[in-house]
Symmetry: C2
């Protein structure tokens, strides 16, 4: 675990350097300089760097030069940053990476605009791929980003509309369909595919990552949901039980609703449907207590474990012929990290 | 005037067709289908289509085939749409193109996400330029979009920070510096440059459009500010005096503050600094009355007229050798339309 954390840190450092080279700094107008500082805010905070690391690892594992994947990996990290700026507004979150969310610091209007500017920087760094990879490969990568963006935003919309429309009759399958889009594509599927594409892997090899990454991404999200409930705020970096405040439909909650009595379900609805600011701390604790009563967190963890095992099995099966490099080994360790992590 | 309006309508129709081909429709998940409907919302509303029309005209005027500029023109219209979705949230607006703003229909979270999805569609349609224009030209266009996005978002931030930081000591020059970035780049400079680039114009010809479009775009914004005060809501499509509600620093207001007495200025500050929902209709009327008293609207109109004359003169001077085609003629008419328009 310590080894993989160090490894992530080292990769994150390389990616950060590339991102900081790319973000603007100087401007003759003071307001614009402030704007640039805000663009640096989230990228400067402590993050895992999981997505860019996966991309670099896969490139190496398939025999490519990781330097060639550096821009693409940096774009994945920029994606994460602009998504987080906007998601934090959409979810009404308070903390991100241990500090107040951007919109809590500067208000929603400026934060939306900062997210948009970071979004543009993502495409810009991808356009600079032409110098490193040539036109054809650079365009292939752009179309991967278009695909992952489509999936991510569709998934985000599904989740938002469940909250907005007060939908509660949800199954594990609904959650997986949402989560696979919202999280898996940009967290696992695309990072794996992109690394392999840059290394020149074959199409059928690359397509294997859809199923592997789908499972892995859902497991990642389940672990995120679990940490949101029982994590250490200082390590995890977000407000604990924020998902309950925000009315999120997590696998833990879906399990609780399918297990509890009708009376308890009515109590849960009446708490969860309240706007964030009206939810009492005692009510949030009550939900967590019910989750304990029905072993819902344990259930979610077991699902995540199963998804990770399936992903690992599929990876080992499909890529049995891939040389046993340190990168391949590190990726297998990252698979476990997805559910063992505390941040 | 009627001729140019018909001309705009015809061009808008071609652009809309291209956009509607490009936006997604079907999906197996009902929530995602709803999401796609929301993406169609702003693009389906009545708009001027000024930006894509300028792009097509310039392409034709420089001897290019307008079909080749169709994707790029459609991208300019998609840009306008995602910017408006986000700007309407940032400004707390109510109406857009005669109907409630997207965030008033579906809430801020979903509207941010819809704007992001339209933003991605803009880059996607630009990536498809490779099929029509080849890699090199497609990339040249992408870098123009990166530049215009940088300018637009910086300009937007300047305006937002004036409101946020209660800044009132502003000059005409401050307004021009903000507006040239917020409005001119994506409304005039880039549409002209892009059309000319696709037609194969020389770099020094293309660079002339920076000054021409800068002036023209500021005139466009001043006219917008004026219509916001004295327009016909049904024709203009936004709530009248919305800029006062939103605390916007328009040239009209900057003139008023530089002309009025100290007592009046204090009264204006106390009204303008109130949050939108606390501003009484009588207070908004009072501001407009003071604008009348000091001929501030007249002043702003005279500035816009001057900027348009400068733009026209510079265009005629720099492009004296450009053949007198119908497109060149139509562009000159569009220059006047910028300040004669009522919508």
């Amino acid at each position: 675990m310590e080894k993989i954390k160090t490894f992530l840190r080292q990769n994150k450092k390389r990616i950060d350097e590339r991102i900081f080279e790319h973000l603007p700094t100087e401007h003759e107008i003071p307001e614009v300089r402030n704007f640039y500082e805000m663009m640096w805010d989230y990228p400067s905070r402590k993050g895992k760097g999981l997505r860019p690391t996966i991309c670099l690892l896969m490139c190496d594992a398939f025999g490519g030069k990781p330097e060639k994947a550096l821009n693409t990996a940096a774009a994945l990290e920029l994606l994460e940053n602009w998504l987080l700026v906007h998601d934090d507004i959409e979810d009404g979150s308070e903390l991100r990476r241990g500090k107040p969310c951007l919109h809590r610091k500067y208000g929603i209007p400026m934060a939306i605009n900062v997210g948009d500017a970071l979004h543009c920087k993502m495409w810009e760094i991808l356009h600079e791929n032409t110098d490193i990879l040539g036109y054809e490969l650079a365009f292939r990568i752009l179309s991967e980003f278009t695909r992952l963006a489509d999936e991510t935003m569709a998934g985000q919309h599904i989740e938002l509309s469940w909250v907005e429309n007060n939908r509660w009759n949800l199954t594990d399958a609904d959650y997986y369909a949402m989560c696979g889009r919202k999280t898996s594509w940009y967290t696992c599927i695309a990072p794996c595919r992109l690394g392999a594409i840059i290394a020149g892997a074959e199409d059928d090899e690359i397509d294997n990552f859809i199923q592997i990454g789908w499972n892995l991404g859902i497991a990642f999200q389940i672990q995120d949901d679990v940490l949101n409930l029982i994590g250490d705020e200082g390590v995890y970096g977000k407000e604990i039980a924020g998902d309950i405040s925000e009315g999120k439909r997590t696998l833990v909650l879906i399990h609780l609703l399918s297990s509890c009595t009708k009376e308890e379900a009515l109590e849960i609805f009446s708490i969860m449907n309240k706007p964030r600011e009206d939810k009492l701390e005692s009510e949030i604790k009550r939900i967590i207590k019910l989750m304990d009563k029905y072993d819902s967190i344990k259930y979610a963890k077991s699902r995540a474990k199963l998804l990770v095992e399936e992903a690992k099995e599929l990876f080992n099966e499909k890529f049995a012929d891939l040389p046993n490099t340190r990168s391949k080994e590190a990726f297998i360790q990252l698979i476990d990290f997805v559910i063992d992590r505390e941040y």
